[in-house]
């Protein structure tokens, strides 16, 4: 990558620091090993000959590993092309036409059912449980509730067990998008209590182009993609075997190495402490509530997020102004707006997200670049002159 750096920034960048792990992660070595072996095998898992059987065996082994990540039986796993498709299959496949979604869901949930009722969140980004209860009580039609476990922009974690309990109390189904949480905190489908769970491989060190929907036993689902009857008739299309194998490799590694995130949490906390020391007026969103150990959404008041990410990129620090999907279409974050953040705060918040290889050097690099920008924008002289 270093060879490309100059081409983009127009100047020499010595170090590149990747702090956009919520957009995508590098491939884990365990996933790479699985992918390389699967890529050289040409069998179609649906074929009955030996090439097909070998492919199917590999696929079923992978299904077990992915199931193990959430402690669910392999037959609960439907492989799909990614988190977005998983969310669509969950929201459109149950036959429940009354849908409630939290106001901070990913666009792939919000746009799957545009007419869904929105459950508000508080200033910290947490779903208002009594409001969920009231909304469900107000209408007896069987509903589907969709609330993510951890937010992609802020890392704020929802009280999903409580949400599951409330949903159950109203005979509502509960869907939980755990794309950002999986591999970063220990997960257990029973503890989440959801009927449907969405997973994405490339957020936990697997390849892009593969994800899964975990479905409670016995639940019927109307397929989104119809055809050859793969995945027990719930998702047609030749299975992406290298993707599935890579997903499994990453899931296994993520589960066994989950303790790495204790160190990542310390790094993230030191990053936030560093920011506070540089800029007493900086705001970390969701700081008061449980968050993923790797995510910081931070506002540099008065400086647009776009200015910040461009300046940081020029200094070799890669972060984002929010969800990667909507990059290019610059608009205010619906997540921050739902939290009641004012326009200034919304416009000046960036997302810094860490991963298992992040280091103190990365944090130092970020703080150096962020501090330099902060001082420039405050019209202050660089440190040398101030001293």
């Amino acid at each position: 990558m270093s060879g490309d750096a100059g081409r983009w920034s127009g100047r020499k960048v010595r170090t590149r620091t990747y702090l956009d792990w919520n957009a995508t992660t590098p491939l884990r070595p365990e996933a790479a090993a699985e992918i390389s072996s699967a890529l050289t095998h040409c069998g179609n898992p649906s074929s009955v000959h030996q090439w097909g059987r070998v492919a199917r065996q590999a696929m079923e082994r992978a299904r077990q590993s992915v199931g193990a990540l959430l402690d669910v039986r392999p037959e609960r796993i439907i492989f799909v092309s990614g988190g977005t498709e998983a969310n669509h299959l969950a929201l459109l496949g149950t036959g429940r036409d009354r849908v409630l979604v939290s106001a901070v869901e990913h666009d792939s949930v919000l746009r799957a059912v545009p007419e869904a009722e929105r459950i508000p969140v508080d200033r910290d980004g947490i779903v208002e449980l009594d409001m969920l209860d009231r909304l469900l009580a107000a209408n007896p039609r069987p509903a589907l509730v969709s609330v993510m476990l951890a937010n992609n922009e802020t890392g704020v974690m929802q009280p999903v067990a409580e949400i599951a309990r409330i949903a159950r109390g109203h005979d509502a189904l509960f869907h939980c998008d755990v794309a950002q949480a999986a591999g970063r905190i220990a997960l257990d489908a029973a503890a989440i209590g959801a009927d449907l769970v969405s997973l994405s491989a490339h957020k936990l060190g697997g390849p892009p182009g593969i994800g899964a929907l975990v479905v409670a036993g016995g639940m019927e689902l109307t397929p989104l993609l119809r055809g050859g009857g793969q995945e027990s008739g719930r998702r047609a299309g030749t299975e992406n075997l290298p993707g599935i194998a890579g997903f499994a490799g990453a899931a296994g590694a993520a589960a066994t190495q989950i303790a790495v995130y204790d160190r990542i949490r310390e790094l993230r906390d030191s990053l936030e402490a560093g920011i506070a020391a540089i800029a007493p007026d900086a705001v970390v969103l969701g700081a008061a509530v449980p968050r993923l150990p790797n995510t910081t959404a931070v506002a540099m008041p008065g400086v647009s997020a776009e200015t910040q990410v461009i300046a940081l990129d020029l200094d070799g620090v890669m972060v984002s102004a929010g969800a990667a999907c909507s990059s290019g279409k610059v608009g205010p974050s619906h997540v921050l707006q739902a939290m009641g953040a004012g326009p200034d705060l919304v416009a000046s918040t960036i997302r810094v997200s860490l991963g298992w290889t992040s280091s103190e050097t990365d944090i130092a690099h970020f703080l150096e670049a962020w501090a330099a920008l902060y001082r420039r924008c405050r019209g202050q002289a660089p440190r040398a002159r101030a001293a």
Binding site: H49, H88, R111, A112, H202, G228, G237, A324, S327, G328
Partner: protein, 416 residues
């Protein structure tokens, strides 16, 4: 591997103990071309950026690779890159094309004339038939046109099937089971003159025969990566811009792919299908000639030794590497079992575990019993003359032995 002892009985088993069988099922999936693998690898590892992360270098490098791949796919079908969107495969592309066009037309009727009729062939791939069936549930009318005994559609029948309400015709470019190539240019002219959209499932044809969306008047074309020596998990849909073909998305969200297909694009897979398209563009002509030669060699070898062998589907208008035979009186599953050294199938992989006779062969006019004797053979880029000769020997020997056994059974004698 099962019984290596089978090698002791010539004609019965594999002469390749401890090896995988010779792969002659290239319609089902193809081996990844090593050059494609090499092109993909950096995007799995060091260049892992999310292509939609416009704010930093890693994202932009990935986005640039994807746009190059889009150019390569578009170039092979004479399309503008802006007319190509990536999907998870041909099944998704077919679902999106058919349901997307139909649902858009329903939501946005033109000149007060409802357009709610879809015409397709009885021999289409399951994902086209199932998508059409879904639309029927939603109130659309679907005509499943029969084909001639050659597997080709009759243009007269197609002309007659079109009505003022017809919105879309969906015809497979080249068939996955019998390999026949439909007269797309003529079909395209007809659809164009009648103001009907033409969708073609080109999963098998893309990269194997020349396709030109302009010359053929194609409005929508589904493409698969893993049928053309590219990776699984990626496909594409060509969507005409002039005049613009409008679709409702199946998968919405982040707004990627011009709001028609949301979800993070898998950079390595896009690079893979792009590279596969570029290789096909450069080598298709020579490869087709080589495959036709191998195909003829196999067909000749078998015809000479299997009495009554019958080729299913038009003999001339077919994919270079594709063959489908009925071995008279020999159930296909028995024949396949008797040839463990080669990987072949009874038809579409999606339905290959099914014991039902192929609906495709039935549509050619074969009886259930005849259809149950159908074998599909797919030669590909990595098939060698020696493999073809081995397959011909194995199939002919097994067929002759099975015919003799069934003859003995019929005569009431003890089969060994």
């Amino acid at each position: 591997m099962t019984s290596t002892g089978a090698t002791l009985r010539p004609g019965r088993g594999s002469a390749r103990p401890n090896a995988m069988p010779i792969y002659l099922d290239n319609q089902s999936s193809t081996r990844l071309d090593p050059r494609v693998l090499e092109a993909m690898l950096p995007y799995f590892t060091e260049q892992f950026g999310n292509p939609h992360s416009a704010s930093h270098a890693y994202g932009r490098v990935a986005a640039e690779a994807i746009e190059q791949a889009r150019d390569e796919v578009a170039a092979l079908i004479n399309a503008d890159p802006r007319e190509v969107i990536f999907t998870s495969g041909a099944t998704e592309a077919n679902n999106l094309a058919i349901k997307g066009a139909a649902r858009f037309a329903r939501r946005h009727p033109r000149d007060g004339q409802p357009r709610d009729h879809i015409v397709t062939l009885a021999t289409e791939h399951k994902c086209v038939l199932e998508s059409s069936r879904q639309l029927k549930h939603e109130g659309f009318t679907v005509t499943y046109l029969p084909v001639e005994s050659s597997g080709l559609v009759s243009l007269d029948a197609l002309t007659e099937a079109l009505t003022a309400r017809t919105l879309l015709v969906s015809v497979m470019a080249a068939h996955n089971e019998i390999g026949v190539i439909q007269p797309l240019t003529e079909i395209g002219e007809l659809c164009c003159s009648r103001g009907v959209l033409l969708h073609t499932d080109a999963a098998q044809a893309f990269g194997k025969i020349a396709l030109d969306v302009e010359a053929m008047h194609i409005d929508l074309m589904s493409i698969s990566g893993h049928k053309v020596y590219g990776p699984k998990g990626i496909g594409a849909l060509y969507i005409r811009r002039r005049p613009r073909v409008r679709l409702l998305p199946l998968i919405d969200g982040g707004g990627q792919e011009r709001d028609l297909r949301s979800g993070t694009l898998p950079t390595p897979l896009c690079v893979g299908i792009g590279c596969a398209a570029a290789i096909a563009a450069a080598e298709m002509t020579g490869e087709a000639a080589r495959l036709r030669h191998l195909r003829d060699r196999l067909q000749t070898g078998l015809s000479r030794r299997v009495p009554g062998l019958r080729l299913n589907g038009d003999a001339e208008r077919r994919l270079p590497g594709s063959l489908n035979f009925c071995f008279p009186g020999i159930p296909a599953l028995q024949l396949i079992e008797a040839c463990p050294g080669i990987a072949i199938s009874t038809g579409s992989a999606c339905t290959s575990a099914s014991v039902e006779p192929s609906y495709v062969l039935r549509a050619l006019g074969l009886s259930d019993t005849e259809a149950n004797t159908g074998i599909r053979i797919g030669l590909g880029r990595f098939t060698t003359p020696a493999e073809v000769d081995f397959a011909a020997d194995a199939l002919a020997a097994a067929a002759s032995r099975l015919a003799a056994e069934s003859g003995m059974v019929r005569e009431g004698s003890n089969p060994i």
